[in-house]
């Protein structure tokens, strides 16, 4: 019986994936395709953040730095070299290596600290990256940013849609395997009670480092795709808003469930898209970020496990009711 319950989300996932694969054939709106692409990119970013927040219980307020590192690595490669696929791979790999290094060093220095200190330190380091990108104008053109051309495969909206969709699916599967591996189980233990995990003989710092490097690498991938999707980059990729996006998506979707992060990315990007369209008729919606802020606070206070938690509660209640009914019938 339990096995069947376990399989239900899998069928759902496959159904959604199939729908998304067929979607471009039934849809002819360019903006919807772009919006979905944007959702996929941020879904990867939100999932990477969920590895830290949901699965390991680490609060990082500087996650934008990995997003930015990935974005800038790709953008700079395309700016300096030709727009070919191998160059994209080079940029991607450079971004991933840099992110892995940075997350490793930061983690080594600060993951042993208490949560407040880690949150503050990551925030400060990410701001340092922002300042670096703004001051190193020779390379980054500062806040003005620069445009660059990308390979033709990425220029075509439909093929880029498929590339991001497949990336989401692959990252989701890899991260799911990671969280269900023995390492993932230790991470879950750390999030529930770090001292107990340590008392059981696990070197928690070691495991937290693995989590933070994994999250950094995945975030770097999403940053690279983001830069390619815009064909433009400026220092905004290092801004605190990017970290807040990840936070909102993970919290609203439900932390500790990778699917929740994807759902959260969808909700936030949809809201952002339609609220900024509404802003054209009702100027009050120009400040839609504040609406997201209130939503975030309400979710945190009222539904700490997010959308995924609400759904789980609902299905559990239903399951229990059915079970009761069955038992009554049996009696």
């Amino acid at each position: 019986m339990r096995g069947v319950f376990h399989k239900v989300p899998l069928y759902w996932g496959l159904a959604i994936l199939l729908f998304m694969l067929l979607f471009p054939f039934v849809n002819d709106s360019r903006s919807t395709l772009i919006l979905l692409t944007q959702i996929f990119i941020f879904a990867i970013f939100a999932m990477s953040f969920d590895i830290l927040l949901g699965y390991t219980g680490i609060v990082s307020f500087g996650h934008c730095m990995f997003f930015g590192i990935g974005a800038y690595s790709t953008a700079l490669i395309f700016n300096k070299l030709d727009a070919t696929l191998p160059n994209f791979l080079i940029g991607l790999v450079i971004g991933i290596i840099l992110s892995a290094l940075v997350s490793y060093i930061i983690g080594l220095l600060s993951l042993r600290l208490k949560s407040h200190f880690y949150a503050m330190l990551t925030l400060a380091v990410s701001q340092l990256f922002l300042v670096l990108a703004e001051k190193w104008r020779g390379l980054t053109h500062g806040g003005d940013g620069f445009t660059f051309s990308v390979p033709d495969v990425f220029k075509d909206r439909t093929s880029f849609y498929y590339i991001t969709l497949i990336s989401v699916a692959v990252v989701f599967i890899l991260l799911k395997l990671f969280t269900e591996s023995s390492t993932g189980k230790v991470l879950k233990a750390i999030s529930q009670n770090e001292y107990r995990a340590e008392a059981l003989g696990y070197q928690t710092l070691h495991y937290k480092l693995i989590a933070s490097v994994t999250a950094g690498v995945a975030a770097s991938l999403s940053g690279a795709l983001y830069a390619v999707s815009l064909r433009f980059i400026n220092t905004n990729v290092f801004s605190i808003e990017v970290t807040l996006d990840a936070l909102l998506m993970t919290m609203i979707g439900g932390m500790g469930t990778l699917a929740g992060a994807i759902a959260g990315a969808g909700i936030i990007e949809f809201l952002r898209h339609y609220l900024s369209e509404l802003a054209m008729t009702f100027p009050i919606f120009e400040r839609w970020t504040i609406i997201l802020g209130f939503l975030y606070i309400v979710v945190l206070l009222g539904f700490p496990s997010g959308l995924a938690g609400v759904i789980k509660k609902f299905t559990l209640k239903k399951g229990r009711r059915e079970k009761k009914r069955n038992m009554k019938r049996a009696a």
Partner: protein, 289 residues
Amino acid sequence: MEVFINLLVNGVSTGLLIFLLAAGLTLIFGLMSVLNFAHGGLFVWGAFSGAWIFKETNSFLLAIAGAVAVGMVLGWVLERFLIRPVYGNHVRQLLITLGGMLVLSESIKIFWGPNPIRVNLPAWLEGSYQFDGIIIIKYRVFVIVVGLLLYLALWLLLSRTQIGLMIRAGVLDKEMVQALGINVKGLFTFVFLLGAGLAALGGALLAPYSGVVFAEMGMQYAILAFIVVIIGGMGSLQGSALASLIVGVAGAFMAYYMPDLSLALNMLLLAIVLLVKPTGLLGEKGSAV
């Protein structure tokens, strides 16, 4: 020599402004282990409401009083509706206060628009003093005097009054104080309001100092205040004062000699302190590890 003295005055006055922000943070943390990420939001609300009241009424004292009042009201709302429901849960505290910060700094843009606002100096504080060719801007001296007076007042409050005694005891051992029949939650609300008022005051004083205010400045100064609080030691008022001066003066000198490295210097200071003495310069409680 002239440059040296000028930089010193700049550094000390900036440091004291940061101290106003850091004092609230460090006391709030020391008493309840709540790290308030929304503190910068109170600061920027103080700056904007102070600047606005000053523009409308042309009275600087009224502007400062109004800013402090606004800061305290917002602080009360923050404490009552955001922080109180998540007492004791560090992760949720961190997350929710960051949400508070987001709402506070975005709502600034609703009231005053997204663009930076120019702020003028009050007439009686314009101009500068001259001693043998050394020019010192009047307003900076004013900030230094106010900052020192506030530090003195805070120190007197903490060391000479009944409530100060309770706060210090609460910082040392919250459970013990509670067991002795003192309402620690009420005490915490008081400290939170005090900290909120100080943050707003810091913002109101900073507005004419920098000449321009913008919504993102809350986060910038909050980061400086965090750095100061860590360097000084969580929960230690003296530590925060000392670290504020260090960060302010070092920042002023770096901004003059190596402008690109000024933020990096603070990060370096932070990293060294965290690695060598994670409790901070004068901190006893709230070790970082």
